[in-house]
Symmetry: C2
Subunit: 200 residues, 2 copies
DNA sequence: TAGTAAAGTTAACACCGTTATAAAAGCTAT
DNA sequence: ATAGCTTTTATAACGGTGTTAACTTTACTA
């Protein structure tokens, strides 16, 4: 009596087809456009069947974030093993991380909670530009007063902002398990390192 | 005939009441929970009137991101002026940035497109932990092989990740106007600085 | 073949952003 | 003051969302 076995098999088949259909939508329309009904249409079932395989829509997305971390882990592991020196490994892993992020943009956005639609227009606002100008000016001054005047201030501006934003957003999305006072040390650590490299 | 003047005055009154009501919702329930109907309820008007003041819901949110950048600019300007030395200014601005982000969490999330609900659970998955372990191990090795073995590997792990995530997400959200090849320089710049500080 | 358990369906609930249409209110000119 | 016009506001609707209750169909068992 392989009936329950076959049933189990069919059930997992539907499950994977849900994930496949969902991922198709995410790839072509972005994860914001994913809907239960769209998945149901694609797999040629009615919408409620999806809830026999996943607790909620979030659970489906969560599945993708897990898969994303698996892929990212694979990528950086490969990068690590391409080098023997630990420092070079760290360097290579950074590049692997970067490449993964843009090769699998949708995964990355899900993994780190990125993507408000309104964000695209912000870069063109005067408010953003004013902010950028102030930071840029100070960095320029640090370079001017330092021992390496040939450093590109624009490059350093982006680096500075990225470090700050990275620290904040990783803390904010709750992706690290440490508490607040501790992570302010990380801020000081990173910024001091950055400034040291700037003013030489 | 101050009639049209009064009408203009009343119109702007409704406009600001919309923004106030909207912000109230954002503060108490998060920006995901904001809806046109909720705003309409709060200001005791029907939903369509909102569209005589704002083109769309996104336009309302966009208003807040602009306000957010104004506040952030104010904060870092104040921090800058608390110091005379440019390097110290940059340091103070970083702290100002950090404080702003967590003092005005909702603003920051809107400004940088943060906040997928599913993100909270990720930190508890094995997939995330495995990834963390690999990176942590390499950093530990770099420290061991370097000239400052007393450096905290855990702290550096967070710093490393934050730098990477910051670079990626700022690039991805399109908040900087430069193109891809250029920003890979920023990556190399930041990572090399980080590694130098690590292996001494 | 009757009865039962599983699977899958339709219909509904309570929302959402947005817009077309209709009603009410306010002002102007006779 | 009232008729007519303009502006303002509301109701109703469209097409969508996640999710669940109730019902029907299918598949299997005795």
């Amino acid at each position: 009596m392989g009936i329950i076995e076959r049933r189990q098999r069919q059930k997992t088949e539907v499950r994977t087809s849900i994930l496949q259909a969902a991922w198709e939508v995410v790839l072509t329309e972005g994860w914001q456009a994913l809907s239960i009904r769209k998945i149901a249409d694609a797999i040629e079932y009615s919408a409620p069947v999806i809830y026999t395989h996943f607790e909620s829509k979030d659970a489906i997305l969560h599945e993708f974030t897990k898969e994303g971390f698996r892929l990212l882990t694979e990528a950086i592991t490969q990068q690590r093993d391409s080098q023997t020196d630990a420092s070079r490994q760290l360097e290579a892993m950074a590049e692997g991380y970067w490449n993964f992020a843009f090769a699998h943009k949708e995964y990355y956005q899900l993994m780190f909670g990125l993507g408000i639609p309104a964000c695209e227009q912000v870069k063109r606002t005067v408010e953003m530009k004013e902010f950028a100008d102030i930071v840029h000016a100070v960095i320029q001054e640090v370079i001017r007063a330092g021992s390496q005047p040939s450093i590109d201030a624009f490059l350093k501006y982006h680096t500075y902002l990225s470090i700050l934003h990275g620290l904040v957003s990783i803390q904010m999305t709750g992706l690290n398990e440490t508490v607040n006072p501790w992570s302010k040390l990380v801020l000081k650590d990173a910024v001091n390192g950055f400034i040291k490299a700037l003013d030489g």
